[in-house]
């Protein structure tokens, strides 16, 4: 069974803290993505990566960075968390079919 695993389901952080969200996929997919999901706004792409050490900005990259040191792992980093980054964060991966496989999500609350 294919799997995308996000390290934390729920996190609570304080404003200004650094936050790491980890994502691992076991499908040997080239492409990995980070989305945030907010009510009424759907899914918005933050960053994506086509290959190891490659990254590209999505639609809302401000306040975020990413790291892809290994093919199976794609990390999202909030250098200094702010309250407007309270959201559900979804990691996904895809191969050559275009279908995205999603993790279960990480719900981040920034106080």
């Amino acid at each position: 069974d294919v799997k995308v695993t996000q390290s934390s389901r729920y996190l609570v952080k304080r404003t200004g803290e650094k936050v790491f969200l980890e994502c691992v996929q076991d499908m040997d997919h080239e492409n990995m993505f980070w989305y945030r999901q907010d009510p009424g706004l759907g899914l918005r792409l933050i960053y994506f990566s086509y290959d190891v050490k490659m990254k590209e900005k999505g639609d809302i990259p401000e306040g975020y960075s990413v790291s892809r040191e290994k093919k199976e792992r794609f990390s999202l980093i909030l250098e200094s968390a702010s309250t407007n980054q309270t959201s559900m964060y979804l990691c996904a991966s895809s191969g050559n079919t275009g279908e995205l496989f999603f993790g279960e999500g990480s719900r981040l609350t920034v106080l």
Partner: protein
């Protein structure tokens, strides 16, 4: 900018009612189209997809969608919904110049009452 529109934000139905959720995209050329579903507390999963061929696509759990190029639409349908179809439904599209980047609509929340 390319976009995907889902005009129904919240749909409430009784069991056995028919369902149609609208999805429109903004590009006139070749696109790949998807419907994803997110059941309460679960991860997003693929319902169905269209790349080419027969414009009527069958998916899991009795869902289908029809690609109408002239209307830039890819509406999701189910003849008779069940309580277990309560979920959020997202339409998504990839464009030929960026086939790995999926653009999502804002989602439609479906509530089905027994």
């Amino acid at each position: 900018a390319q976009s995907v529109s889902q005009h129904n934000h919240h749909v409430i139905l009784s069991e056995a009612a028919s369902l149609e959720l609208g999805c429109n995209y903004s590009y006139g050329g070749t696109v790949n189209l998807f419907w994803y579903v997110q059941y309460p507390g679960q991860h997003l999963q693929l319902l169905l997809k269209y790349f080419s061929g027969d414009p009527l696509v069958k998916g899991i759990k009795g869902f289908e969608a029809e690609f109408i190029k002239s209307k830039f639409s890819f509406n999701l349908r189910k003849p008779s919904v069940q309580w277990s179809d309560t979920a959020e439904y997202f339409c998504a599209v990839t464009y030929p110049f960026n086939t790995d980047k999926l653009i999502f609509g804002t989602g439609t929340r479906l509530q089905v009452f027994p």
